[in-house]
């Protein structure tokens, strides 16, 4: 059984189609990055998966319908929906008391170990903590819950780079065990690239690409092309051509490595580069057909 199975998810707000037939399947043990521009439907998709919003289509998370069974689902699913959603009036110790009280899968001692390591004062109110500390507290709580799916929606927005790196390192080293599934969205794609096992692109309410990172890296290639070979490179129908510091960089989708190596230096492109290329191309197609 896949952790998340979504088929044809649809959701409209008035005239806006937030989800326009989303298909997504995420197996156990995967770390999937959901990448998309603002308004692409990322948050709506996550909200549907978390049972926060109803939608049309087939959706099963850990075998349950999230909208009908949010309470039961939340015993096995954790989420950090945003930075700073912890109630500001709560004391750190109260937050632990509360979660320990309502969550059967919470290991308080484990949370306290994380907090001690982060030097978080337990008597303080959350509103008095810095943004980074609040995020650490939330992470400590979530990591002490024995969940099968963790959903992170922009979990490090507005935090400094050192903390962001620390956040994902901690997640990988102390939380991820190869069996849990993690679903993450962020605008800072470069920072999570090395963490992901899978990637999905979402645009205009649809998943336009879903792939494992291995397949992704085999499929897409960036080539720094020597100027004299540019026409040959164009003949291979690159998905993007751009000038970087006076050199032409071509992005290719599904071309043979051997073919590309003849053109110049072959590199693995970043997720963001491919995403932009695909989006521009889709936009261009749309313009031509219009």
């Amino acid at each position: 059984m896949a952790t998340i199975e979504a088929r044809g998810l649809r959701k409209t707000y008035g005239a806006t189609k937030a989800l326009d037939g989303v298909d997504l399947e995420v197996g156990a043990g995967r770390i999937l990055g959901l990448i998309g521009p603002n308004g692409a439907g990322k948050t709506t998709a996550l909200n549907a998966i978390l049972g926060l919003t109803p939608c049309e289509g087939e959706l099963r998370v850990l075998g349950r319908d999230p909208w009908r069974a949010r309470e039961a689902l939340m015993r096995e699913v954790c989420f950090i929906a945003d930075v700073a959603v912890l109630p500001r009036w709560m004391k750190v110790s109260q937050a632990l008391d509360y979660v320990a009280g309502v969550h059967p899968g919470f290991d308080r001692a484990r949370a306290e170990r994380f907090l001690a390591r982060a030097a978080l004062p337990s008597g303080k109110r959350i509103g008095k903590l810095s943004k980074g500390m609040v995020a650490q507290l939330h992470l400590a709580i979530v990591m002490a819950i024995d969940a099968r799916l963790l959903v992170l929606d922009e979990p490090t927005l507005g935090l400094d780079i050192l903390f962001r790196k620390h956040f994902y390192d901690t997640l990988l080293n102390d939380y991820y065990d190869g069996k849990r599934t993690v679903l993450v969205t962020t605008h800072q794609v470069e920072e999570i690239e090395h963490v992901l096992t899978d990637v999905a692109f979402i645009a205009n309410g649809r998943v336009v690409l879903q792939s494992t990172m291995d397949a992704f890296e085999t499929r897409f290639a960036a080539v720094v092309v020597r100027p004299e070979q540019a026409p040959q490179a164009r003949a291979l129908e690159p998905i993007q051509e751009r000038l970087v510091l006076g050199r032409s960089v071509f992005l290719f989708d599904g071309r043979e490595r051997a073919q590309l190596q003849a053109l110049g230096e072959v590199r693995s492109p970043g997720i963001a580069d491919i995403f932009i290329a695909l989006m521009n191309r889709a936009g261009g197609t749309a313009e031509r057909t219009a």
């Binding site: 949010r70 939340m74 109630p87 509360y98 009280g101 059967p104 939330h138």
Partner: protein, 287 residues
Amino acid sequence: MKGTFYWSVRRELWEHRSVWLAPLAVAAFVLVAFTYGLSRSAREIAATLSALPPGKQQHLVTMPFGLAASVILLTGFVVAAFYCVEALNTERRDRSILFWKSMPVSDLTTVLAKALVPVAVIPLVAYAIALATQAMVFTVSAVVLKALGADIGALWAKLPMTSMTLALAYGVAVHALWFAPLFALLLLASVAIRRPLPWVVVSVIALQLLEKIAFGTNYSGAFVKYRVMGAMTEAFRTDALREPVVQLSQLDPARFFTSPGLWLGLVAAAVFLSIAVRLRRLREPLS
């Protein structure tokens, strides 16, 4: 393990400390005022008291107890009303609803926990504080009157302690039940409307004004008054309220518990709460 309901109520009390701080502050004020007044004019009071006929004497002796308790309980119910207006709204304004919803706690549990606070927790807290205040009033007057050499034994003989305490408990219980639909409606407003407080105030006033202008009547005003004051008229014997309620014979539970106003109110409360649960399920942070 204590359940999710217990922790849901507990967290409300962490968040809304005014639930017990406000009645406590009022109790402290009452106590200080009483002590001050008594120490300044104890002699005059003692003189007035002995000049009164025995029936009136009891009035005067019980008055500070009744007054202290009523002020504290009234504070409790006012706090409860404000609590309801905020209860399902602040979590959306500060976005913490996303945290609460990440926990395995159903919307039903959440709404019922929030409804329990005004209907049971605040009345019980206010009742306990009222009793403690009465005990302090008793102690203070004993000390002051003793210092003046007054005959306190004869005075206390006029205090119907047991029936006063029971009547007070009855008063708290009937009000909590009577106000249940009001609290439920305010809770519903707090989940249904972005800015519930001004909306509630304006709509109550506007309704009466419109009715007055359109029909020249004031049924809506009478209805609001009935839902606010009704427990006094339905739960106590007629005329009982002209004097302090100290005798159990002044209570009328049979009439109260057969009053359609009570039962229709409770049905309305259940309907309001069930709509509130449905809305809470759909709710996302504001902004």
